[in-house]
Amino acid sequence: MKALKLDNLPTPKVEEWKYTNLPRAISADLVDAPVQEITIHKTRGQICGQAEDILFTGEAGALHSLRLKIILEEGAQLTVLERHDGSGAYWKNMVTEIEVGAHARLNHIRLVEDSGEGVNTNMVHITQGADSLYNGFTLNIGGKLTRHEIHAEIQGQNAELHLNGLNLLAGQQHGDTTILIEHQAPHSQSNQFYRSLLDDNARGVFQGKVHVHQIAQKTDAYQLSNAILLSQGAEMDTKPELEIYADDVKCSHGATTGQLDEEPLFYLRSRGLSEKAARQLLIEAFVDDVVEKIGDEELEARVSKMCRQWLGGVLSIHHKGSKDTKFLKENK
């Protein structure tokens, strides 16, 4: 595989989706690192109790061309833990190919902690056979710019696809999640559940599209994106799309952007919690709803700890008395 030429990067105009500007994020003097290719192949009926743990580390000044291939044959079961870290400015340009055979089950957990100057672009292509399950989870707390693009094709009947994710971003970070799910067979189910917490001048992007082909009757597709903006400079852009050509389907999506609800906050305050504690509790709950989708206690605990750490840093800076508490104090 030959790496991309840097001066040839696609501009937002070329890509027709205006939210991520690659040429601006990537520095021009990167040096090609050796191509890294990992293939995981599980044969028919192979059930793996032990998770595969893969770590991709970015090095300053490098252009990493990465390739990950996961093939599960019929009835195989596997958990893959894919971790990203690094230091300095670099670009990880990664292609992931995933084939989930009939009756196979794959848990795919991505923990992205790239360096604050690192750029991570990941194109994921998933194909699913009949009765298969793909359960994906992404925690994104790193990188100057990350783009996670998923194209999933559900080719077999009764397949189940779950894409869940958390984007916790601060500073000047930019996190882009773009999803295209194609239902090409009847009776399949897909779920997308993404939540974003955006602080400082961070920018979150969620574009999810569900395409139901005419043959894919009885499709059940759901899509939800919630975002909370923690500071005035943050921005969230959401574009949940439905493209539907079959009539006997259940497809819906929801999207919200805002700040913490005042009502639950008031409830907790009335029960004697400090405002800081109440806020923290609500934000933790916001995050945990997605973490719980991983479905593996050990991993959930690990991810939850990473989230708590991130939140601890953010919330301690943010706590200031709201107008209400000031009012109460002044009127005593």
């Binding site: 959401t238 949940p240 539907i244 009539d247 389907v249 497809c251 999207a255 952007t257 805002g258």
Partner: protein
């Protein structure tokens, strides 16, 4: 609601037997500009309307810009290349040459046309109710109730008259909401716009009656390019209705309109549309109107409000995004839409809500119904700018699919740059439930009656926002436009 549709609607549906009712042609001699589009066409139109120099310059500038602009291609529409030279840009009934002063002087043939369409102008002049401006191809035929409205200080006339009588208002507001270079279709309209309505409501006046414009394309190969401008000054209120039809023809005809609304402090405009242009042949998709419309309102002052309600049942292609720019603090934008596509129709419609001022609110309710081999897309933008403290948006778009050959799509763009803003969006896609159908059928309704009933229920949230006079018509239209969608 149910009693209103039951008997009457079903009868009407049966009577029509799936025909496009407004598809007749009025045989009337008309005067046209030479076919095709050039600077000369623009000059011809301007001269016909004895326009002042500044307006001609404005048109020519738009025309030159139009030549360079690309066609908008982002909508999910399959549009055959448009031959702009194969169309007439101005057509006026000969009898309108020397502007009739009152309805008595208007060619009876024209009045007959409108009577046939269910808009008896004379009757309406007698009975108090709605003031109507009717536009036939490129000219306004007549405006009713002018005198009564003038008592209140309300100006309601065709835009050509407004250019002559109120040039200062036209000059100030025209192009202020939709600049000529906004998009290719709006630009074309700016160059060759012919007629349309002009409304000005003075401060503190609540317009005593509903204002209405009826657009009719009659001539072959003629495009209609009307331009509507409504200004509600401080504390005023107006409700405005718009309806449209065209004869059945095998050629695609172009309708590129521009509507601009301006509300000042505490003012409110309610704008309702029932669009029933000829949709083309349901089997082959031949003919029909290309409906490329740019509608936009600006809430200029504090506490002002703009409300769009549309029922889109016709046109081969609908490309239309009535939008609100919420500039004044506490201003409100609303968009209620029912879009029905059947046969081989295509619709790409929605709204844009741009929140600029503090505590601005917007509400979007869109119901899309797709049947036959049609494609129906909701495309909407909600944008919260950094200064829009406390802005709120609520959006619901539901789609209903009838049959497995059609498509329903939802493409919302939601962009928030203020942390105190709150945005909610939800969308669903479903079909008519088997249990709903079963219930209706076992009560003795036919399949088509049942569908008309269920769809009317589905669209009810939007229909409620139509003025009375239109609500009944619109309900009937829904039934008619779904004819032949089952079986």
């Amino acid at each position: 609601m149910s009693s209103a549709i039951s008997k009457e609607t079903i009868d009407t549906v049966n009577d029509m037997a799936g025909k496009y009712e407004a598809g007749f042609v009025t045989d009337i001699e008309s005067e046209k500009a030479p076919m095709g589009l050039s600077e000369d066409t623009v000059r011809f139109i301007s001269a016909k309307k004895s326009e002042p120099e500044w307006l001609l310059e404005w048109r020519l500038k738009a025309y030159r810009k139009w030549l360079e602009m690309p066609e908008p291609d982002w909508a999910k529409l399959d549009i055959k290349p448009i031959d702009y030279q194969a169309s007439y840009y101005y057509a006026a009934p000969k009898s309108m040459e020397d502007r009739p002063q009152s309805l008595d002087e208007v060619d009876p043939k024209l009045l007959e046309t409108y009577e046939k369409l269910g808009i008896p102008l004379r009757e309406q002049e007698m009975l108090a109710g709605v003031a109507v401006d009717v536009v036939f191809d490129s000219v306004s035929v007549g405006t009713t109730f002018k005198a009564k409205l003038a008592e209140e200080g309300v100006i309601f006339c065709s835009i050509s008259e407004a250019v002559q009588d109120h040039p200062e208002l036209v000059k100030k507001y025209m192009g202020s909401v939709v600049p000529p270079g906004d998009n290719k279709h709006a630009c074309l309209n700016s160059a060759v716009f012919t007629d349309g309505s002009f409304v000005y409501i003075p401060p503190g006046v609540r317009c005593p009656m509903e204002l209405s414009t009826y657009f009719r394309i009659n001539e072959l190969n003629t495009g209609q390019f009307e331009r509507t401008l409504i200004i509600a000054d401080k504390g005023s209120y107006v409700s405005y209705l718009e309806g449209c039809t065209a004869p059945m023809r095998d050629e695609n005809q172009l309708h590129a309109a521009v509507v601009e609304l301006v509300t000042h402090e505490d003012a409110e405009i309610k704008y309702s549309t029932v669009q029933n242009w000829y949709p083309g042949d349901p089997e082959t998709g031949v003919g029909g109107i290309y409906n490329f419309v740019t509608k936009r309102g600006i809430c200029e002052g504090r506490n002002s409000k703009i409300s769009w309600t549309q029922v889109e049942t016709g046109s081969a292609i609908t490309w239309k995004y009535p939008s609100c720019i919420l500039k004044g603090d506490n201003s409100i934008g609303e968009f209620y839409s029912v879009a029905i596509t059947n046969g081989r129709k295509q619709a790409d419609t929605g709204t844009k809500m741009i929140h600029i001022g503090k505590n601005t609110r917007s509400r979007v309710i869109s119901k899309g119904i797709s049947a036959g081999r049609a494609n129906n897309t909701y495309r909407g933008l909600v944008k919260i700018l950094p200064k829009a403290e406390g802005a709120r948006n609520f959006t619901v778009c539901d789609s209903l699919l009838i049959g497995d050959q059609c498509g329903a799509h939802t493409v919302p763009y939601i962009e928030s740059r203020n942390k105190s803003a709150s945005l909610e969006h939800e969308a669903t896609t479903s079909k008519i439930g088997e249990d709903q159908m079963f219930y209706c059928l076992q009560r003795g309704m036919s399949e088509e009656e049942a569908i008309a009933l269920i769809v009317n229920g589905f669209a009810r949230e939007v229909m409620q926002h139509l003025p009375m006079e239109f609500a009944v018509e619109a309900q009937k239209l829904i039934g008619i436009s779904l004819e032949g969608s089952v079986g």
